[in-house]
């Protein structure tokens, strides 16, 4: 279960004077925040730095206590921080190019990758990562905010600066793409291969 917004707000209000509040908040939120940062940057070091900077900015800025939705606020900070790092680095996520992914998949599976029997076990082990990499950067961000951060569509819209219908549409498109991906690669819902 994700941390309650009211609890997060409470921690944010106590943050400036209470080190325990920081520790509690960090321990509770570090995993989903890191997950989001990782999906944005595609890089472990950058993701860790993003989370670190997000929390330290939170401490230094002292504006967290004004946030109405502390949960969305935290993800907004780490989202922006991760994007900043990404832009600073090169602006490209390592796995973010669907064409690149497709080319990679074809290298592994052959050009007719729809044929399921040519599958590589090692590749299938990281199947979800591959599926995520097949998404556009924006779709991946939205999926991460939805699934890993467990934010609502309205919150994601706020975090990403997109309109809510756009967020919804992108999310649905991403899910469809991943369903197609798994369909193409022949994995059935029960986890087995055909």
């Amino acid at each position: 279960m994700p941390a309650e917004v009211s609890w997060i707000n409470q921690m944010l209000q106590r943050l400036s004077s209470d080190p325990d509040a920081f520790t509690n908040l960090y321990n509770e939120m570090k995993k989903p925040m890191y997950a989001v940062a990782y999906r944005i940057t595609g890089n472990r070091e950058d993701a860790e730095d993003s989370v670190q900077d997000a929390f330290l900015n939170l401490l230094r800025g002292g504006r967290g206590s004004y946030a109405r939705n502390g949960r969305a606020y935290l993800f907004q900070i780490v989202h922006n921080e991760a994007l900043r790092r990404l832009r600073k680095r090169s602006g490209e996520i390592v796995c973010g190019d669907p064409a690149e992914f497709t080319a990679g998949a074809e290298r592994i599976f052959g050009a007719d990758s729809a044929a399921g029997d040519a599958r590589d076990a090692e590749f299938a082990g990281s199947d979800i990562e591959s599926a995520l990499c097949a998404l556009s950067d924006e779709e991946r961000r939205i999926v991460s905010l939805r699934v890993e951060a467990e934010l609502g569509y309205a919150e994601i819209a706020k975090v990403t600066g997109k309109s809510l219908p756009t967020v919804f549409r992108r999310y649905r498109a991403a899910i469809r793409k991943m369903q197609q991906f798994f369909g193409r690669n022949g994995e059935n819902p029960s986890g087995g291969k055909e």
Partner: protein, 472 residues
């Protein structure tokens, strides 16, 4: 044959693959936080020390001054007087300067012509021919917003080109509809161009529907304190319509971009009355083939259904019904009609707002009824019996066919309702006021048995006693 993975399974896979911070990174963050708190504590204690030292110095100075005063008091009263005068000099000078400033200002004001305040704080630069976008003014219908008037309106190009938006008193262009097809990116680029340097710009999305028309939707928020607006625009080859909701007045309006004036308030704040001064609307209606209530519900083609899905999360736009005194009627889209008759349902803040006075339909929600990861549209309706008890019911389209999924969800109160869906695919129906009205959390379960769709409704207490089955 490959079976489709559900959304839930994909979510589970993503969560299972989620990584965590390394212990080293954890240690770094916590160490940096400890350092921050330590520095803060040091800073605060240093401040205490400094203020203590300052107090001590001040005390010493005061004592020294006291002694000195005692010594000089007896010597010379004149020197004390001089000191006092010196201490008043800055204040006297400041007063003189202030008086001089006031006098100068007053004189200047008398000489100046009276200034009229700029009535049009247009924040968006309007492109002109000089800026290299002359053609842009020739094609569209412009949307302008005025936070002070709590108003959003459409301005046809000729008006904009002739007078500019300043004369309209609006704060700037927040969007545009083209009378021809544009892609979402084109729309976004153009809106970006139009809105210029706005700090909190509107966010727009353009959808292509199955009718070669385009829906532009977005939020406008001029400042954090200003009312927010939801705009939906529907434009195409034929004159489009705009429906918008002003939060301040809790009011929906429908406007035609060809006739700038509002066609009327569709719903008053009490959501009861209906103004019928819709001349263009009547004209539009004549070109539409009408169907009766016995015809199939939601006579949409696939592409229209797709449009619903794209906008379904926030706002639900429904080709639904216009009621007249004789009953409920369903308009049917007619290919090639000059104007497509549309009546809108909007879900705003999870509350279904009904544009039409068709009381049978309260609103709609998206639920994954079949569990395949794709939400189905569930429409919630209500009916009254002779005792004025209300019956809520839900129906949906499954496999492309209208299917009543439930009836008589609740009997009793006819109030305001909020509809929302959960990630579990269940249809959650809750009352608008949880404290005074019953709360339902209904799971609609569908099961295929002998060609029939069995429906079971569950809430937190178990299977609802009023649950019913519907046949597909």
């Amino acid at each position: 044959m490959s079976s489709k993975m559900t959304e839930r399974e994909i979510k589970e896979k993503i969560l299972a693959a989620s990584q965590t911070m390394s212990p080293e990174a954890d240690a770094r963050v916590l160490s940096a936080a400890r350092q921050f708190y330590a520095e803060k504590a040091d800073h605060e204690s240093a401040k205490t020390v400094v203020s203590g030292a300052e107090a001590a110095v001040s005390q010493q100075e005061s004592r020294a001054e006291e002694t000195e005063t005692k010594q000089t008091e007896t010597m010379c009263r004149k020197s004390e007087l001089r000191r006092k005068v010196r201490s008043y000099v800055p204040a006297i000078l400041a007063a003189v300067v202030a008086l001089a400033c006031i006098a100068i200002g007053a004189t200047g004001a008398l000489r100046k012509k009276p200034q009229t305040p700029d009535p049009t704080p247009v924040s968006t630069p309007i492109p002109t021919g000089d800026e290299g976008h002359p053609a842009k003014w020739e094609k569209g219908v412009y949307i302008a917003a005025d936070a002070e008037k709590s108003d959003i309106r459409l301005i046809p190009t000729p008006v904009v080109a002739a007078e500019g938006l300043q004369t309209e008193g609006y704060r700037g262009v927040v969007g545009i509809i083209y009378p021809r097809g544009i892609t979402e990116q084109e729309a976004a680029d153009y809106i970006e161009l139009l809105r210029g340097g706005r700090d909190d710009p509107a966010s727009f999305t353009c959808y292509e529907s199955g009718w070669n028309r385009y829906l532009l939707t977005g939020m406008v928020n001029d400042s954090p304190d200003s009312p927010r607006y939801l705009i939906e625009l529907y434009a195409g080859k034929t004159p489009g319509w705009v429906v918008y909701y002003t939060e301040k007045y809790d009011e929906l309006r429908l406007e035609s971009p060809t006739a700038i004036e509002s066609l009327g308030i569709i719903r008053d704040p009490n959501r009861r009355s209906l103004q019928r001064n819709w001349p263009d609307w009547t004209t539009a209606a004549s070109s539409v083939k009408w169907g009766g209530p016995d015809e199939s519900f939601l006579p949409f083609d696939v592409s229209a259904g797709e449009m619903y899905k794209t906008v379904g999360a926030k706002l639900f736009i429904d080709l639904a019904a216009i009621a007249d005194e004789t009953g409920y009627w369903y308009p049917e889209y007619k290919e090639g009609a000059q104007v497509t008759q549309l009546v809108w349902f909007i879900v705003w803040k999870n509350r279904a707002i009904q544009v039409s006075p068709f009381e049978n339909t309260l609103g709609a929600a998206w639920c994954d009824l079949t569990g395949d990861g794709e939400p189905e549209l569930v429409t919630i309706g209500r009916a009254f019996d002779e005792q004025h008890s209300v019956y809520l019911y839900a129906y949906s389209e499954v496999n492309g066919r209208a299917c009543e999924v439930a009836e008589t969800l609740y009997t009793g109160y006819s109030g305001d309702w909020v509809f929302a869906t959960g990630d579990d695919g269940a249809l959650h129906i809750v009352s608008a006021n949880r404290e005074t009205m019953p709360v339902f959390d209904v799971r609609v379960e569908l099961a295929e048995q002998n060609g029939k769709t069995e429906v079971t409704l569950r809430d937190a207490r178990g299977i609802l006693p009023t649950s019913a089955s519907g046949n597909q």
